[in-house]
Symmetry: C2
Subunit: 492 residues, 2 copies
């Protein structure tokens, strides 16, 4: 194998980058902090989109599309939101280039084409959407409004990493409007459940559901719910958030509705999103030193058949058998690729598909043919088995399910092993430095303490888990009384 | 019906705008020239995307995603392309806002956060993609590269119209790389066929396939192929283009490959795209004074069932029958909605679904129930029929096919009626002013003549049709000899 992946143990960060680049998921681009999502990476993202989109529609949401640009005056209307994003905005100031009189063939910004009002490239779309909702909502009959958007957004990040933190990224953002506070909170929680369901049952990534502390809330939200996953290196990754926005945006953009009694009130809002960051979570949950591992439900190709043959005649015979296997599997909704390229040797192909994370590989040799068998290799645990061709479709269908659940089980076990309780600040720091992972600890509930712990340890409160066990204790930092442990970790 | 559509005969342009806004397809936004695509409009666009995406994949293409921004130095590398788009570019010059010291709560662009190199918001992605391809292509083994991208693009238009010409729009852009000129030309033509197939068999919009004159070529292309549709008012609409880019971008971005003999050569390129402009073509091909008409294959909801009842008990009985009909139709892959809202009367619902273009409406009344029948109304020709419930699913499946083909037939007949031949310039002008439509006329083949005809009549050469009949003639404008008629029209 010519492509070399740095082992995890040697340098986790480099391992991650090697997987992303060598498995053809994404690459750096000529634009600072922006990535190119390569076909293999994009195909996985498309599978994620399809699954999520169906879940959104099944819960009554529809898609729409709002402008990329936000006029500055709208952007600044909701003050907390504006303040939260102001420092990381790409800003369009001009709308025309012209020939450079000093430099033939070159272009310069035309100073005469300066915009009267600057346009912000959306870092999130609450402002433009709530400005639009004002025209769409008059009475309770127009509510709820349950809208989602698939889009690109831009946040000017100083330190970027492929998928995890890029200047431009792809995401979906749901923006809903409700007649009551209760209904909006219910929606916020419902979408958190959808995200948790997707993370666990599609990505095979176990997550902790919880509420963010005020410090870690989305700018402009009254409450932020989150799902938190734990990566192999013991760092947490925020995988999706769902925000209860109260009436903040309705007030900023003057969006009112008449209730059944004809009384006017401001509308209640939620927003929720997941992004291409999920690709990072997927990679860092399952992959190994041989490359990417994709859960079968998100694999663009679930099974690859590689023929091992000599000469055209040999290939022809194998191709016939492969076609039968492929057809049988496709009937069971398995996506199969038969790689009969003569430009690469079987060993090269084995390594390539291993690197790219294809869940199951079927090797089809001339000797097998006479025995009526094939060799089936699993990507998740790298084991092989000889299987009768007659029984192949049932075997593969079961195997794909087995791999999907095994990946989840493995990730869950790892998370449990890496989840700790700390009762003193020394213990807390020791765990972070020596074991990493999630640390459940008592906290006095103040932002000051949270910030001091962060300064001293780089660990943040990932969330206050939902349905958290109530127990008496004392804050690890200040010793003040506390009624529950919260979830700390160093995070991506 | 409270929503009023201006009749076509009164003001075609206003009629179009009314349909777009009142049928909830799109609306103007707070951002100059940018639209909001509303849920009903977006659902139709999604159906288009799904059909096109499958066609692209069936012809061997894969999706990927490239950055929104293009550094100015890359943008200007292919000179003709840069020149073609320079005057309509949104330009990012800064990456941060800060509090306005003069005006509490307001933000200003932070002058210290000026970019060293400006970023162009992509008007099309050849530059960033070919700069990326340089790193992906080394030898003939890496070719062909058959990549498509679904994305938003920005072109700063001075006069905008919903869907037809907006500053930001959604599209797909295919960008392929090939080892030979012949293969690239073949790809260019293949994708033109895909577009024509989609326009005619999904949108029910007949198109003329042809080649653009050098004047009308895509900036940076050696040849531009197009499909041209004719709208109800006799104006042409360019519905999709496929470009043979020669080696222009490979040369500008230094993209070379080693052939089988190890010799280096520049790569051959194509690009091709369709956009949300197709929504405009769809609307202006089929809709009428009652509202939108959607071809069944692109209708998010194909059939709506409206109950006509008195009291809860009445609704309950009808709901049971509706559920059976719905289930039967869904089994035949028909998308059905049962509208049992008690907030609106049946008459209001009839008008609403007519306005929104739902192909088939089933009215389910208590009297019908006792007869075992329902009333089925077609949106395309507004006729109604009483149908036995026992036979409903076969009837509806056939009816949807019938509507799909009727819409195409109707549009084709209209186009034929509006297609003319002109042999003199006077005749040419008279047809344009009195009849409008397509005009086939002889042209001397020069850009000068083309431009003069455009100046004097506002008509442009839409294309030189593929497999055009060769015949001797004289140019309508200069009288010079010509060997074929080309297709003229006033256009959107």
């Amino acid at each position: 194998m010519s492509k070399v992946i740095t082992p995890q143990e040697e340098d986790y960060s480099k391992w991650y980058n090697d997987i992303v680049v060598e498995a053809d998921l994404a690459d750096h681009s000529a634009v600072r902090g922006c990535m190119v999502i390569k076909p293999h990476g994009y195909a996985i993202w498309e599978k994620m989109q399809q699954a999520l989109d169906k879940m959104f529609k099944d819960t009554g949401h529809v898609n729409a599309y709002f402008p990329l640009f936000i006029p500055k005056s709208l952007f600044e209307a909701e003050e907390k939101n504006a303040e939260g994003f102001a420092k990381e905005c790409a800003i369009v100031t001009h709308y025309r280039l012209k020939s450079d009189p000093q430099n033939k063939g070159k272009l310069i910004v035309d100073p005469e084409a300066k915009l009267d009002e600057e346009l912000i490239v959306r870092p999130t779309s609450e402002a433009i959407i709530w400005n639009t909702y004002r025209g769409w909502i008059e009475s309770y009959r127009d509510l709820p409004l349950l809208i989602n958007q698939w889009a690109n957004v831009v946040r000017w990040e100083m330190r970027t990493r492929l998928f995890l933190r890029t200047t431009e990224f792809l995401w979906q953002e749901g923006h809903t409007a409700h007649a009551t506070r209760e209904e909006a909170i219910e929606e916020t929680k419902k979408m958190l459940e959808v995200y948790a369901d997707f993370a666990e049952n599609w990505m095979a990534v176990p997550v902790i559901k919880g509420v963010k502390t005020p410090n870690e809330r989305f700018a402009g939200a009254d409450d932020t719910y989150t799902i938190e996953a734990l990566m192999q290196d013991g760092k947490a990754l925020q995988a999706g958030t769902s925000h209860f926005l109260g009436q903040n945006f309705a007030k900023a953009f003057d969006v009112k509705f008449a209730n059944k009694e004809g009384k006017l009130d401001h509308v209640w809002a939620t927003s929720w999103g997941v992004s291409t960051r999920l690709m990072g979570a997927l990679i860092m949950s399952h992959s190994d030193n041989n490359g990417l591992v994709i859960p079968p439900k998100l694999a663009p190709t679930q099974v690859v058949i590689v023929p091992i043959y000599k000469g055209d005649e040999g290939l022809k015979k194998l191709a016939e058998v492969a076609a039968v296997i492929k057809a049988k599997l496709q009937q069971r909704n398995v996506t199969v690729k038969f790689d009969d390229r003569d430009s690469h040797r079987p060993g090269w192909k084995f390594a390539e598909y291993e690197l790219k994370g294809i869940p199951v590989r079927i090797a089809l040799g001339e000797r097998d043919l006479s025995n009526g068998t094939v060799e089936v290799a699993r990507r998740d645990n790298l084991t092989k088995e000889v299987v009768k061709i007659d029984e192949i479709e049932t075997y593969i269908v079961n195997l794909l399910e087995e791999i999907q659940s095994n990946l989840f089980k493995r990730a869950l076990e790892r998370r449990e092993q890496m989840s700790h309780q700390a009762n003193t600040f020394d213990e807390f720091k020791k765990i972070l430095d020596e074991k990493a992972g999630f640390v459940y600890a008592h906290w006095d509930g103040t932002s000051e303490t949270e910030e001091k712990i962060k300064e001293e340890t780089k660990a943040t409160i990932r969330c206050i888990p939902l349905n958290n066990k109530q127990e008496q204790g004392t804050c690890i930092y200040t010793g003040k009384p506390s009624t529950q442990r919260v979830l700390f970790a160093r995070a991506y």
